[in-house]
């Protein structure tokens, strides 16, 4: 067990809720694996909700970029929701806020599909 991850099919997209305080080099591989499984199952529209996540490192960002690229290459998309202030700063520091569509909450993100 490396990560508490709640995955629900919401019709318009798959909602993945990362129920961890940290998304880092210890558990980001697990997020990547779970996203790959969804892609293999033919899903390509994902919302990753980070509202429980207080801390993300570069490998957590890398896992999200990996999912983003995989979704796009399948004509789907990966969107984010619920970023805490300091997590949002990480996306700004690495310019990734220009790459991802970022929504306030999961509902908004799901509604955008």
């Amino acid at each position: 067990y490396l990560m508490n991850l709640q995955i629900d099919d919401k019709g318009s997209a798959i909602l993945m809720q990362v129920q961890e305080e940290r998304l880092d080099a210890h558990n980001s591989g697990e997020l990547k694996t779970q996203m790959l499984k969804l892609f293999e199952d033919g899903k390509s529209n994902l919302v990753v909700d980070l509202s429980d996540v207080r801390f993300v490192d570069s490998s957590g960002l890398g896992a999200l970029v990996s999912g983003f690229k995989n979704a796009s290459s399948r004509n789907g998309s990966l969107k984010l929701s619920g970023l805490q202030m300091q997590v949002k700063s990480m996306f700004e520091l690495t310019r990734l806020h220009r790459v991802f569509e970022i929504y306030n909450d999961a509902e908004e993100a799901l509604g955008s599909f």
């Binding site: 940290r22 080099a25 210890h26 801390f55 490192d57 570069s58 520091l93 690495t94």
Partner: protein, 139 residues
């Protein structure tokens, strides 16, 4: 008034499950500082972050995941300068190759860039049995 004089020295197994311990200790040090006029919670996040990045690199790139190896970390505050040192047992690398922003959609290669952005001075040098990444910040 005496400035903060704090030294923390940590040795943990070469496993990513301890990243969180090291990061939290960095946060605790930031929150315990007597003299800091900046945003303490931002400093706490930043120390957590650079310790996590540096330790993850030591584990994956230098110590190559060998769970029997140890990672050694030092946090020291002297005269309003904070120094973080992460020791590895590897062959070393040319850090100057990695201090520029990565390609926007790269999956790797943001760690050293982040460390450079957050800290004031970064140095990577050989030790007796590996290398040390020293990261300094003026408080």
């Amino acid at each position: 008034m005496a400035t903060d004089q704090i030294e923390v020295d940590i040795k943990v197994p070469n496993q990513t499950r301890y990243l969180c311990l090291i990061g939290h200790i960095g946060e605790n040090v930031a929150r315990a500082l007597k003299h800091y006029s900046g945003d303490r919670e931002k400093l706490a996040y930043d120390l957590n972050l650079v310790l996590t990045e540096a330790m993850a690199n030591a584990i994956t790139h230098a110590n190559e995941g060998d769970p029997e190896k140890k990672v050694h970390i030092e946090i020291a505050i002297v005269d309003q300068q904070l120094a973080l040192r992460v020791y590895d047992h590897g062959q070393g690398f040319d850090i100057s190759q990695f201090d520029l922003p990565h390609k926007p959609l790269a999956e790797h290669g943001r760690g050293v860039y982040i460390i450079h952005t957050v800290m004031d001075e970064v140095e990577y040098r050989p030790t007796d049995d590996g290398h040390v990444l020293e990261m300094k910040k003026n408080l």
